[in-house]
Symmetry: C2
Subunit: 786 residues, 2 copies
């Protein structure tokens, strides 16, 4: 099935340049964080940026989105409708690994002599390259060149290309699939021995490997989730090299005797199939491997480049004046794409597929922070994610019924679609996830104009969540209240009338009415009546937005501004994250904000606030927002830019983009903070660029340039048209790059770009003159621009 | 050491009559609940009402207040300052048991033939009597008469008097301490084998028994809490009976060959010492046993009667027209006394010492429901309990510091004094426990006039808790707020300005100021400054009491009346307890009340509300109060009576009193509901009797008689004076029974009783004419009067 030509390729490209790559040597972070930053993934499969050589101390580094185990939830005091199990993603076998030895000694950079060792993540092309020059304990020196890719096009495929070049006469041994603990052939002997409850993991139920490749099957004992992986190895040696296969069933290995200058090359193709239907998985993996094999290495690389070329064409943001940021924002967008490219049926996870942090769960992060970027840059992935939510509606309906509510209630954190959160005040109570999902679906349909998606996916999502809101709130003389919920700020929980929640629910209700109007058949199928729609509209119209008239400030939630201020004193009150030093019972009652909440509402429900109100609200909440969550800075950046604190907005943008490259939260080991990385793009485009989607598809722009930058450039789309926005100094140039015409506004001024008059230049107004409000002590933006 | 004469006594008293006893045959409840109802205890030691014969299937039935084990708390998602261990009271060896056999067959009422079997709890004298006539499998018939007492005077002592009378020639074997699993002599072989974490319990570290008695020592592996018990057996046989002791170290037993008519009698005295100081316990048990032995059985009985005679003289409530209630209210008061008599150093537990329900913990129940009764009936026990709280101030200070607060924060549930609650929204957040403790101390000092107690105990309790409140609340333009707390109603948690909490905190702050004024040296020792006192007074003066002007109703907590009403529909919304069918996240946001909260405030902070306001508030909250807690009915009874719903008040009084006798909550197996039983007394005396303690020691009375009753009579004290209140029909007679004079009011009218004019009669006004509000569907008072 192999044509060796097809994977023969030049490894490094001439055009590769620094702003398009991340070098390991530039990273001053722990090895676990490096493995996240250099990870490759496509949303379905992820391979952490570990070395190629097998290290028996390593945890497996491969993640497959549907593969998780269930763990008993234990509560000191239980309660009705508490989730009984927690789902935890479990790493699967690194079948793509290749054990190799030099003169009989396994290659290990901690032994022998390393002359050069370099790893580079090429984000333009989506590959991880490596170069190693190494003298083995035998005294012989070899050079390794390798390239790894996780296909952004084929969801099952991990491919690795290796080349070893001998500098001395040397014997090189290559052993397939050494990552499989069970080296036997056929059904594994431990098939029946499910691990005990204290040490759950995957059981290897089948393992085979020989000269052609390997097959491994693994299964989680309790959840039943399984993975099947098939690999193929293609070996090519320089002319005259004596290579012999030892095809022993348990120890298949190739031994090649190289003279100085000889090379041996290996392409390892691996295909991972994972899910519930154990019986079907081997065939699915086999088929995926066969198709990838027929395509070949060059084609896999071409596809990868092609996929990313469109991403960069749509989404690249050029930042001049800050090389570190230029590199970071590209790494950030690349990481977002890696988290989302192939999430059909599995959804986008908070850590992408780069680590097991948060147990591999999906949260509202996806809808609120990631999808707005994908709607611009990779709309198919946004649709796939929302289709996944739509598939999980049966669970969400069951959950709503269990809670005593109509409609559907999506989980706070999940893999399967079932609620997996063990602390309801910051889990189930955060009902806003329902509006986040629904509004993301409606927004996706509006931005992309995808009517099929709107009819097949969005209508049902908005209707079922609108039903939830109609039942979850109630009318009083002062309006429609939504009580006892937790908003985005997890330092303030179980409150009444959280403004973010109420405004998102209002949009949700209005979308439901509007989409039922547009899709009457679908609405009828869902049993929507005129009375029900009228009730949605009435609830939306009467939705309470709590406000402190004396302060002129919007309440984060009812009475929030009358809570006690938080005194940032030297003791535990100013040690972060605060919840490591202060109990919830004390945090909740104070005016201290973990993450943008009212400020997030200023962004996501922008139309509900006047510019003056936004400024007052931002000024009020900024000094009490401690940013103990990585979900905070994106909204702070956007709103800071909008109210005129341009440099502060840029500082937050940098924090978002550099979060993982600098391991700012000492948690990158567990995987990348995908929402924050998406937030970097949002901070630049919606924040500094001022991008908003208006009615009738009008694009509103309001660019401003922070002092640090010479230039900010990005692309926006208006239907089929494409407009480049290029801000240099105090001038912005809008240029119609494709399409017939585009209607947009510049700081409120209407501009029509046409093929005849494709370009307009405008002056960029300065930000506000007065200084931005201070953050809490010690909580100025991390890695602020100097 | 023994004088056999001393325990020779007539078993049953002629004066015993039904309203003073509870017969097993009258109880239509499960055996486990019977064991609670027939339990004997003194607050330090408890012996559940099990049969005398050892049943290997039985759990040990003896509880010793300081003996608990620590269990790891497990949280699905942990948080700062969550308690790491849960304390659980562990039953100790039933060393008071006596194994006995007839013709070689162990006595077992499930075998042979039972001709008569009768058990009676005599609450006037504090003993459990038993009569059994039984034909053994051998065909021989014997009669057993036994009496058990747990001394209300000597905290370590459990005594059992046995007599077996032969009706045929028979061999009776008696074996001491058969309850000890380890039958060896000396250090137990399993001393070193601490039980695993899954099955913690007590390890027997020492066991010895012979003809004279037994010694057993047990220890909880993790907590280190230990118990030492010493027993002595005194045997007497009819003249001419051949009795031989087999004194084998592991099988000491007395064998007596009886002819028809012969008797053998055994007195078993047991003394339990328990606590932390393991080394000191055996000597303490030995000493207690020796002293009890010297006193002898008759004296133990005399002491018991004498102790209870004073209780009944002070606290008996005569109820005519409802025999069931008469019996129940005496059993209730007896149970309260059993829970409290000897709690020096250990405190009063929610279940008394009659079961391991709630793991043997003490809650606010003690201060809020039990101590008001004890202040009248057994003030020394109230003082002992409060001294226990005072001893635990170091833990409470540590806890406050851990929470970031000044002063002291008492645990929601505890044995040792450390917080043992695993769900903070209904644990730590229920800060009102601090005001409950402080106000109970101040009230005790005021009611008893015990200045030593006030100086040594009350001042520090009120000061440290006042400091907590001063730090826990904050001033705003509208007043002093206390946010993020949970009041008594556990279906509404983590709210702002809970009225009950605020009013109790206000009393707490005022008591602190007043007691510092009265005890300047003590205040100075505690570092109280004039500024601090001024801050307390200011907070008290400005304390917020939320109120709905439109409804004219006091808010249970801020905005409570604007929450959604609870619709009691046929489905899960009207299945009780609601929290078994509805998640907290939905319960909390609704106007549904688990237990009297605002209505409890109407009782405990009576002065803060006008009569009209009380009526409006009662009417508002009654239809939403589901009484899923046994702590609800007492306050509902008191307030119902006060606002004029006299029959409803009486229905609630019955529910309180009959709760355990009828096992209304199917939880009496775990022990008696001491607070509810105390509430029965409160419902009659403070409710129907209208007793309130006014300024300057004036007693306010406002008796009313429900339709069901012909008569209600009780005694109240005014300093050294004693006044009987005797309501018959529409006339009440106040009579000075002791002392020189007493000042009281009758429905507001002042009365002065003197030795010269010791009696006054007054008309009893009727209740309100209109019907009382309805309870939620299915939640009318249980066992309402017909």
């Amino acid at each position: 099935m192999w044509t060796p030509r097809s994977w023969w390729s030049v490894l490094r490209d001439a055009e590769q340049s620094d702003p398009w790559s991340v070098q390991e040597s530039d990273l001053d972070i722990e090895p676990g964080a490096v493995a996240s930053v250099l990870g490759l993934a496509n949303g379905f499969v992820g391979v952490r940026g570990v070395l190629d050589e097998l290290d028996p101390d390593d945890e497996p580094a491969t993640l497959v989105a549907p593969v998780f185990e269930e763990h008993e939830q234990t509560y000191a005091e239980g309660g009705y409708a508490y989730p009984e199990v927690e789902e935890r993603m479990v790493p699967v076998v690194d079948a793509w690994r290749l054990g190799w030895s030099v003169d009989g000694v396994p290659v290990d950079v901690r032994r022998g002599t390393v002359h050069e060792h370099r790893r580079v993540l090429d984000v333009r092309h989506g590959v991880l390259d490596r170069e190693l020059r190494w003298t083995a304990p035998s005294g012989a020196t070899v050079s390794l060149t390798s390239r790894r890719l996780v296909s952004l096009v084929r969801r099952e495929v991990v491919a690795t290309w290796w080349q070893v070049r001998a500098e001395d006469d040397v014997t090189v041994t290559v052993r397939p699939a050494p990552g499989c603990a069970h080296a036997g052939d056929g059904p594994a002997p431990d098939t029946q021995s499910a691990p005990g409850p204290q040490a759950p993991g995957l059981v290897t139920t089948w393992c085979r490997h020989d000269a052609q490749g390997s097959s491994v099957r693994q299964r989680a004992a309790r959840s039943g989730r399984a993975v099947a992986v098939e690999t193929a190895h293609l070996v090519e040696c320089s002319d005259g090299v004596a290579a012999t296969w030892d095809d022993a069933p348990r120890a298949a290995a190739l031994t090649a005797r190289l003279r100085a200058g000889d090379r041996v090359r290996v392409l390892v193709l691996a295909a991972y199939a994972g899910g519930e239907d154990t019986a079907a998985l081997p065939a699915r993996a086999h088929e995926a491997l066969a198709v990838a094999g027929r395509a070949g290495w060059d084609e896999l690389q071409r596809e990868q480049r092609g996929f990313l070329a469109e991403v960069w064409e749509r989404g690249d943001v050029v930042v001049e004046g800050d090389d570190e940021m230029q590199q970071a924002v590209r790494h950030a967008l690349f990481s977002v794409v890696q988290a989302a490219a192939r999430v059909d049926g599995v959804g986008i996870r908070a850590k992408g597929m780069t680590g097991t942090g948060y147990h591999g769960h999906a949260f509202w992060d996806s809808e609120c922070f990631v999808l707005p970027v994908l709607d611009q840059v990779l709309p198919t992935a946004a649709a796939d994610h929302l289709r996944w939510r739509h598939q999980k509606l049966p669970y969400a309906r069951d959950r709503a019924a269990e809670l005593g509510l109509p409609g559907a209630s999506f989980p706070w954190r999940t893999i399967s679609g079932r609620e997996s959160s063990g602390y309801w005040p910051a889990g189930t109570a955060a009902y806003h996830v329902n509006a986040d999902v629904a509004c993301a679906a409606a927004r996706h349909a509006a931005v992309t104009g995808d009517e099929t998606f709107e009819r097949d996916v969005a209508v049902e999502l908005v209707v079922e969540t609108a039903r939830l809101w109609a039942g979850r709130g109630h009318h009083t003389d002062e309006g429609f209240r939504i009580d006892g919920v937790t908003g985005p700020d997890e330092y303030t929980a179980v409150v009444d009338d959280n403004t973010y929640t109420n405004l998102m629910a209002r949009s949700n209700l209005r979308f439901a009415d509007a989409l039922c109007e547009r899709h009457p058949c679908e609405a009828a199928r869902l049993g929507v009546t005129a009375d029900e729609r009228a009730a949605w509209v009435r609830a939306a119209t009467r939705m309470v937005v709590p406000y402190n008239e004396r302060l002129g400030v919007t309440e984060q939630s009812r009475d929030f501004t009358r809570h006690a201020p938080w005194h940032f004193e030297p003791r535990s009150t100013a040690r972060f994250p605060l919840d490591d030093h202060v109990p919830y019972v004390e945090l909740y009652r104070h005016q201290v904000v973990k993450q943008a909440d009212l400020v997030l509402a200023l962004h996501t429900a922008s139309d509900a606030f006047s510019p003056e109100q936004k400024l007052r609200d931002f000024d009020y909440y900024e000094p009490m927002t401690v940013r103990d969550s990585s979900l905070s800075a994106p909204a702070q950046a956007v709103v800071a830019a909008e109210v005129g604190y341009v440099d502060l907005a840029y500082d937050y943008a940098r924090e978002c983009a550099l979060l993982d490259l600098c391991d700012l939260r000492a948690s990158t080991d567990g995987g990348l903070h995908v929402a924050s990385l998406a937030g970097a793009w949002t901070a630049l485009v919606a924040g500094l660029g001022g991008l908003r989607h208006g009615d009738e598809g009008v694009l509103h722009l309001a660019p401003r340039l922070p002092g640090r930058l010479r230039r900010l450039a990005f692309t926006v789309r208006h239907g089929d048209a494409r407009v480049t926005v290029d801000v240099r100094g105090q001038v912005v140039t809008y240029r119609l790059a494709a399409g017939d015409e585009a209607l947009l506004t510049h700081h409120g001024e209407k501009l029509l770009l046409t093929a005849a008059a494709p370009e307009e230049r405008r002056h960029v107004p300065p930000g506000v003159a007065r200084p931005a409000p201070a953050q809490p002590p010690g909580r100025a933006p991390l890695f602020a621009a100097p």
